[in-house]
Symmetry: C2
Subunit: 221 residues, 2 copies
């Protein structure tokens, strides 16, 4: 079996730790029980090789033989194709997982990302633009609140789609955006309670903590 | 072979016509040469059945037998799995198409959608929030400009990923957002020049034009 390598930044400031998107792929790999190694690339000086793997200069990407996949959604889907635990094999079950995987990214994260960017722009005045961005997220969460009133996971059992949706919710919850959406928060908590999530989270935190030690222990850093 | 049905709004105001996301699925089906029927659902009164198919109350969705897929990206991927024209069958080629399909949605549209929402919020003052939203899109387009300097399509030949990326660019270009990104605009134009796109566009416009006639001819509308 070809080795799977997950590439992330070799070091990052404290703030994004625990929320770097490699956690989605770590989590998927842990659920699937697949072996993998984690590699770091520089956070500050991004090489041409980095842009070859990730054209927007971000992380993570997943490599397996001559395959290199950026976009956390595409990488999670790639892992899911390897494991019944993450993706049903019948056409209907498969289509359910895939549509919810896209929904997590393109219906929910597409609304939470601008909300996050807006919050951190330093713009604290009430403006039409800010209200429009807030309403966009609120509308998506209200619909998700209805969806999650009826079910434990997005499809009839835990799948790759839940990994991405839970992680999208985690960032919203970090900035109190789930306060009015208890079903969404409970669902997120169910995800975070899974042993594979806990392992992925602890591993990401440890990876960057080791980088701190390496950097502090070196004379030329 | 099970019949494919594409569901969109039965009628819409003029403004979004030509840009409703069913065009992505129409285009994919036209490229693949697959037969399909188009069904309309009410734009104003959205039924419970509508939310069963599309939990955010939007369109489109694609149905085939007992499968129902919302999210344009998931529906285009579903069509692509049926046709060599839209998706290579070897694992590496397949992974390239899928990662760029996700990138079109989650790296580019995730930046263009808030930009669009912000522009239409009526907020015409320069604010930190607005600048952050503008910079987010500009950064993504600058990277895409580099990517498209070297290639005709996102992968080594036209694929499902180009359908979504070109359509994401179309909305940006409609509001002059590609003015500083000639490679992006040329790429978009190559997409719009394809006969399958032209057919999909004309069909969407005709579908809503027929609804106008139907509504004007009715006493109770």
């Amino acid at each position: 079996m070809t080795e799977i390598t997950l590439t992330t930044f070799e070091w990052l400031p404290e703030f994004p730790r625990g929320y770097v998107r490699d956690i989605r792929i770590r989590w998927a790999l842990e659920e699937a029980g697949l072996a993998y190694t984690v590699k770091g690339v520089p956070f500050k000086d991004r090489s041409n090789d980095h842009f070859q793997h990730q054209p927007f200069g971000q992380v993570p990407w997943l490599s397996e033989g001559d395959i290199s996949i950026f976009e956390s959604g595409a990488a999670v889907l790639h892992v899911a194709e390897k494991s019944e635990k993450l993706m049903q094999s019948d056409p209907k079950g498969r289509s359910e997982v895939i549509k919810w995987l896209f929904a997590a990214l393109n219906s929910v994260e597409a609304a939470s990302l601008p909300w996050f960017i807006f919050q951190f722009s330093g713009d604290d005045k009430e403006t039409e633009g800010g209200n429009a961005i807030n309403s966009f997220l609120a509308s998506r969460l209200t619909h998700m609140e209805d969806v999650l009133a009826e079910r434990e996971w997005l499809t009839h059992r835990f799948s790759a789609a839940d990994i991405v949706m839970v992680d999208v919710f985690r960032v919203i919850d970090r900035f109190d955006g789930l306060d009015d959406h208890p079903n969404c928060r409970d669902y997120m908590q169910r995800g975070e309670d899974r042993p594979a999530f806990k392992k992925a989270f602890a591993d990401q935190m440890a990876f960057f903590a080791e980088a701190d030690i390496r950097m502090c222990g070196s004379d030329d850093s």
